[in-house]
């Protein structure tokens, strides 16, 4: 059996007394593209943030390429901060609000991680950043600051920033939710290209058509649990659970 690149086992997460993840299991092999759908409050974004250790979790394990992240051992001991920083770089995260560094040019946004985390010399970092910015169609905007870019352009730079670090798994958190409708496709097309090239991806999305087209598997989350999981054709065409059928109906797929 192939070792999964990302493995989530029995993940539990509480905010104060509210349990938002109630035992989630999910596993991705290299090259898998998995979309998570579900209504707001179902725990999709929290799950993604746990994988990137932006949220603590209280029980369960997450393994990336066989390495347990964030915690170690059966006693769920939190790792040191420097360890966590190193492990975080194994995943790339793209946020709903882009979160580009507003005081830096597009190019510098991408090179920051390369020079400070990967300790690359500036020329090498610039070359890699230039390559990725070209890939997302932003070559002519390298010297622009985020404030001078449209939402779609900002999000494409944010994708370049994440993939330039050469992560093992890319995480996309509702990356088109903050965009004007006419800018959604330029971002989705970039993600599709990357998916077709074999990049491993875990996406939280409200774009059902996109999830249908791009995913190898779709996961439907409901109230902190995975309710249904399967190939997009099955999940979208023949939902097994009542909840998923209702959800698909309400999201007008």
């Amino acid at each position: 059996m192939v070792q999964p690149i990302l493995q989530i086992e029995n993940l539990h997460k509480k905010f104060k007394d509210v349990e938002v993840l109630k035992g989630v299991d999910l596993s991705l092999e290299t090259g898998d593209v998995v979309s998570i759908i579900g209504s707001s409050g179902s725990g999709k974004t929290t799950l993604l943030r746990c994988v990137n250790m932006l949220e603590e979790f209280h029980q369960g394990r997450i393994l990336i390429d066989g390495e347990e992240i964030g915690y170690s051992g059966p006693r769920h001991k939190a790792r040191k901060e420097s360890e966590i920083a190193r492990q975080r770089a194994m995943t790339g995260m793209v946020f709903q609000q882009f979160n580009l560094f507003p005081h830096m040019t597009a190019l510098r946004n991408v090179t920051l991680g390369l020079t400070k985390v990967k300790k690359m010399p500036a020329e090498e970092a610039n070359a890699i950043a230039g390559k990725w910015l070209a890939r997302v169609g932003m070559s002519d905007r390298c010297d622009h600051h985020p404030g001078q870019l449209s939402g779609g352009q900002q999000q494409r730079v944010a994708i370049a920033r994440a993939v330039a670090m050469n992560p093992k798994v890319m995480l996309f958190d509702e990356v088109t939710s903050a965009l004007d409708p006419e800018l959604v496709n330029e971002v989705l097309n970039v993600i599709k290209d990357l998916a077709n090239e074999g990049m491993t991806m875990l996406l939280v999305t409200h774009e059902m058509k996109f999830a249908f087209e791009v995913s190898d598997r779709v996961v439907f989350m409901n109230q902190g649990r995975i309710e249904e999981e399967g190939p997009p054709e099955e999940l979208f065409r023949k939902p097994k659970s009542q909840r998923l059928a209702e959800f698909l109906k309400s999201s007008k797929f």
């Binding site: 975080r88 609000q97 560094f101």
Partner: protein
């Protein structure tokens, strides 16, 4: 009111007034720099997870902000030597003004830190930066740009506050003005010139600050 204005006596010692103005500016510049460092550390302490850091920082701000600056100046000049800490009057004043500025800047920076979108720090962490690196490359540079107008305001206040150094005979503008006043009895002329010098200096500083503010502004 038989008083004829005669600026001759004041002009004769104008170079003294100018040197006093220069010293005041220098003291304000040193103090705002030192105060920025103090304020930065204290602002992070204020937002820290650890209660002890928060307590220490808020005690510092409370103690300093609620004591009149003149009292602080006299305290460090007259009381500290009794406790075995001996500083010259200029040094004593600079240290006092820095600590005073630090308390105000703590609040300025604390507010600016709270106003930053949480996602910026997270985006930094997500590419693998440590908390320290995220502070140095992302949080602090953006926060300082946002805090710059308030920082400039504080600098102008601080510059005017250097006039209080006259109380411990630091030879700045107010000190010399008082000296000229006593020596020449040209009350109106002396204080008029001194006031105008403060106004002109502050006006120029404000113009300079606005220039930098535009240069530093993050395009949105």
């Amino acid at each position: 009111m038989g008083y004829t204005l005669n600026f001759g006596a004041v002009w004769r010692d104008f170079d003294l007034l100018l040197s006093g103005l220069g010293l005041g500016l220098g003291l304000a510049i040193v103090s705002i720099f030192a105060g920025c460092w103090i304020g930065l550390v204290a602002a992070f302490a204020m937002n820290s997870k650890h209660v002890l850091w928060r307590r220490v920082a808020s005690c510092y701000v409370t103690a300093i902000r609620n004591t009149p600056l003149l009292v602080l100046i006299l305290f460090s000049f007259f009381v500290l030597p009794r406790l075995g800490i001996r500083l010259g009057k200029v040094e004593s004043f600079t240290v006092t003004l820095s600590i005073y500025a630090g308390a105000y800047l703590t609040e300025v920076f604390r507010g600016a830190l709270l106003a930053l979108p949480r996602g910026l720090r997270e985006a930094g962490l997500a590419i693998g930066l440590t908390e320290w690196q995220a502070k140095i490359w992302i949080t602090i540079p953006i926060m300082l740009r946002n805090a710059f107008p308030a920082l400039g305001n504080n600098f102008i206040s601080l510059f005017k506050d250097t006039s209080l150094a006259a109380a411990i005979a630091v030879p700045e503008l107010t000190f010399y003005a008082r000296q000229i006043n006593v020596n020449t009895f040209r009350v109106i002329e002396t204080w008029l010139v001194a006031s105008l010098m403060y106004v002109a200096a502050c006006y120029l500083i404000a113009a300079g600050l606005r220039f930098f503010e535009r240069r530093l502004a993050i395009s949105r």
